[in-house]
């Protein structure tokens, strides 16, 4: 018997076995071979897609009886005007105009801008009026394709408290001279038309002119209507705006003014017809309750974003699966096998996070794509004022929904590692995501949450649900004084900023999970 050096048995250690992707593959195999988990991932997709149907198909309440609200009106829906970009608009103002064929210039001096707003209920169902201006009450000059609602335009105007502005085609706004209008500080405004290009100028004294912007109105007809206007945004209450104009200069010969209440006095028109009077080189005109602006915020207008409401429904099965992906290991003792096979615990955690994030992302992308595809035609059949949403924005909404679900999955998974029990982990994840939103929107018809009328406060800035901002389809228009409520789909943070907040939560939870996973015995 000889005693010699014995070479110990070594397993042939191949580089692939030590690779991270090998670990990811192992975790993916664990995931896909549990039937219940795959079904739950399918339920996530199904829940999001299914809710694209009912919640797009909500009537504005005209033409169909609106049920319990008691205001069932059988009247047909008024035709919703849309602007050149296809967006629903408010186009109701008092317009004194003359036809302009070809190029021309219109110049005015605005010496006064005053207004009346409703300050309380008065007699005969009318409001009691007191003097006052809305921030975006406006008077000025406008070149508009014709007097129909929604036609292309460019305008120079003075506003209640936002100085001189140039606005065109409803959604665009540029600031000019700041300050308010008075007899001692009049504002000179000028619009120059050259083909389909219009340049706006303003001036304090009428001698030195500053160009505000030059805009192109594609396909502007040869003959347009040019003139002066007033508009009184209402923000829910009756209002009028009165402008006093002097030195009205037109570069082309024209007859007298034609007065038009654009939109008429119907449901989408002005609240009350305008009036004007002329004396000694001064023209005073008063227009009532209307605006030239996008239909946005709580004033109206919806988008295909509604089709993604099911995201909340899809989050729940995903959170359940993400937590069970971890707690299942602890419950059955599989975690010891997993950590024996992959002793570097951080890598195991990373592999699990990659798998669950991939599942969440793919489920979110598939579900959001289906929901938008289903929701677009459903929404088009309703009587709602529907905003078009560009393909680029829709791509952001789809990818963002995927990222939102992926991060929620990682967050739930990390919480599951921290608490190691399924029910408490799932509850923690759901409470952290859902309760801030629920407290923001409030419960019940009078649930006075800050999300009913306004921006939503801290909850949608600082908690994981801030990521819902990534689904916001419509911009807020600062030039429209209306509420942008959370329940209307407007969020306080920018899309990617909201997602970053959720990402920070997931990262923090993952860091704590990593720390605990390394420190504790499995």
């Amino acid at each position: 018997m000889t005693t010699g050096a014995v070479t110990p048995q070594r397993s042939p250690f191949t580089p692939e076995r030590d690779s991270f992707w090998h670990l990811v593959h192992a975790e993916w195999t664990k995931f896909r071979t549990v039937r219940g988990w795959v079904i739950a991932a399918g339920v996530t997709i199904l829940a999001i897609t299914a809710f694209a149907f009912p919640f797009c198909d909500i009537s504005a309440g005209c033409a169909v009886s609106s049920g319990a609200s008691g205001t069932a009106s059988a009247g047909a829906c008024p035709v919703q005007p849309t602007g050149p970009g296809g967006e629903p608009v408010v186009d109701a103002f008092y317009f004194l105009h003359r036809p302009l064929t070809g190029n021309g210039t219109i110049t005015v001096q605005l010496t006064s801008l005053t207004g009346q707003v409703a300050i309380g209920p008065g007699g005969n169902g009318q409001s009691q009026m007191g003097s006052g201006l809305q921030p975006w009450s406006k008077a000025g000059i406008i070149i508009k394709e014709d007097t129909s609602q929604g036609s292309a335009y460019a305008a120079m105007m003075a506003t209640g408290s936002n100085g001189v502005r140039m606005q065109w085609d409803y959604v665009n706004d540029r600031p000019g001279l700041p300050g308010s209008v008075s007899a001692s500080a009049p504002r000179w405004l000028r619009l120059v038309r050259d083909g389909d290009t219009i340049t706006g100028y303003d001036s304090a004294g009428g001698t030195h002119w500053t160009p505000v912007d030059t805009v192109t109105l594609p396909g502007l007809t040869a003959t347009v209507q040019a003139g002066i206007f007033t508009a009184a945004p209402t923000n829910g209450n009756a209002a009028t705006t009165t402008g006093v104009f002097q030195h009205i200069g037109l570069s082309w010969p024209g007859g007298g003014w034609t007065a038009t209440n654009v939109g008429g006095t119907g449901p989408n028109g002005v609240g009350q017809p305008g009036t004007f009077s002329q004396s000694a080189g001064e023209l005073t005109m008063t227009g009532g309750s209307g605006d030239i602006a996008p239909l946005t915020g709580s004033a109206g207008g919806v988008s295909v974003q509604r089709a993604l409401l099911g995201t909340f429904f899809g989050l729940i099965p995903l959170i359940v699966v993400a937590a069970m992906f971890i707690t299942g290991e602890y419950r059955r003792g599989l975690i010891r096998v997993s950590l024996t096979a992959a002793p570097r615990r951080g890598r195991l955690l990373a592999a699990k996070a990659v798998v669950i994030a991939a599942v969440g992302f793919v489920a979110g992308v598939v579900a959001a794509t289906l929901a938008l595809a289903v929701g677009t035609p459903v929404l088009a059949r309703t009587d709602l004022a529907v905003w078009p949403v560009s393909l680029l924005t829709q791509a952001r909404m789809i990818a963002g929904t995927g990222a939102l679900l992926a991060l929620a999955g990682v967050l739930a998974m990390a919480i599951a590692i921290i608490v190691r029990r399924s029910a408490p982990a799932i509850t923690t994840a759901i409470v952290v995501i859902f309760i801030p939103y629920l407290l923001t929107v409030g419960v019940g018809p009078q649930g006075g949450g800050p999300g009913r009328g306004g921006g939503g406060g801290w909850a949608l800035r600082a908690t994981p649900v801030a990521a819902m901002a990534v689904q916001q389809a419509l911009p807020k228009f600062y030039q429209v004084a209306t509420a942008y409520p959370v329940i209307g789909g407007y969020y306080p943070l920018a899309p990617w900023a909201g997602l970053a907040v959720e990402c920070a939560w997931a990262a923090a939870a993952l860091a704590l999970a990593f720390f605990l996973l390394r420190r504790r015995d499995a």
Partner: protein
């Protein structure tokens, strides 16, 4: 030599069932009180209700007579997360039996399955009700101390916080928490998996009000507020604007009770007709 066998007189079937129920109750109570988890969960219910109520009360400001805030709703804001903890307690009471395999032992010892479920529910009810009462009393006391300093004064239309309406709100809220725990217990018996059960329960609780808030059609929103367990149940804690609620406070609690009965019924059916 004869062996004297002591003969027991045969018991009446009803009496036997009663004895079985008493034995099951005793066994389940022993299980409940000898595990630390339920105690911590119920302590969590109390702590969350009081703490969140204090935060919400500190943040609430009522500057005019028509500020539209309900002092009871503000004080009981902690119910939103606390009911999730109560739901966990309910789910785990049954879910733990399934996840540990204990259920086989339990049903061997107590073959009357419905009696076992009844004993489980009864054993969960009493401590949850006690914890809920403590939580609600703590939150009400916190609100009573904080809110008058934040504008909830008689001048703004809030006479005091000890009227019969406030008592009803407090009792209703405590009953609501208990019903949610029982609903969760029934759901866990029906799906037999803690994780799936808690997902279903929290979905049923939170998705109705979120959907109702976002839906623009007021009729649909009102119906969602009537059938959802959370919005219906929270009608029970309102003390202002009761005439505008979708349901009266007790009707709201009735809706929650219907959900609870349905869940327990489903749980009983699953227990009765499926192998454990």
């Amino acid at each position: 030599m004869s062996l004297a066998v002591r003969a027991f007189p045969p018991l009446h079937p009803a009496s036997r069932a009663l004895r079985a129920a008493a034995a099951a109750l005793k066994a389940e109570w022993t299980k409940f009180r000898t595990v630390a988890e339920p105690f911590w969960l119920l302590a969590g219910v109390v702590a969350l209700t009081v703490a969140i109520g204090a935060v919400a009360g500190s943040a609430a400001r009522c500057s005019s007579a028509s500020c539209g805030l309900d002092p009871a709703t503000v004080s009981f804001t902690g119910i939103y997360p606390a009911q999730a903890v109560a739901a966990v307690a309910g789910v785990l009471a049954v879910g733990n039996e399934y996840s540990t395999g204990m259920i086989k032992l339990s049903l061997t010892a107590m073959p009357r399955r419905l009696t076992w479920l009844f004993a489980k529910a009864a054993v969960v009810t009493a401590p949850v009700l006690a914890a809920s009462a403590l939580a609600v009393a703590g939150a009400a006391l916190t609100g009573w101390l904080i809110l008058p300093g934040h504008g909830f004064t008689p001048a703004h239309g809030y006479p005091s916080l000890t009227t019969g309406t406030d008592l009803r709100a407090a009792v209703g809220t405590a009953l609501y928490l208990t019903l949610i725990a029982l609903l969760s217990l029934g759901a866990a018996a029906a799906v037999r998996n803690s994780a799936a059960a808690i997902g279903v329960v929290l979905g049923a609780l939170y998705l109705f009000p979120i959907t109702a808030a976002v839906v623009s059609n007021p009729a649909i929103a009102r119906h969602l507020d009537q059938i959802g367990p959370l919005p219906a149940g929270l009608d029970a804690q309102a003390t202002t604007g009761i005439s505008t609620l979708p349901l009266t406070p007790w009707q709201g609690l009735g809706v929650v009770a219907l959900w609870t009965v349905a869940a327990l019924l489903l749980g009983a059916l699953a227990l009765k007709f499926r192998d454990a």
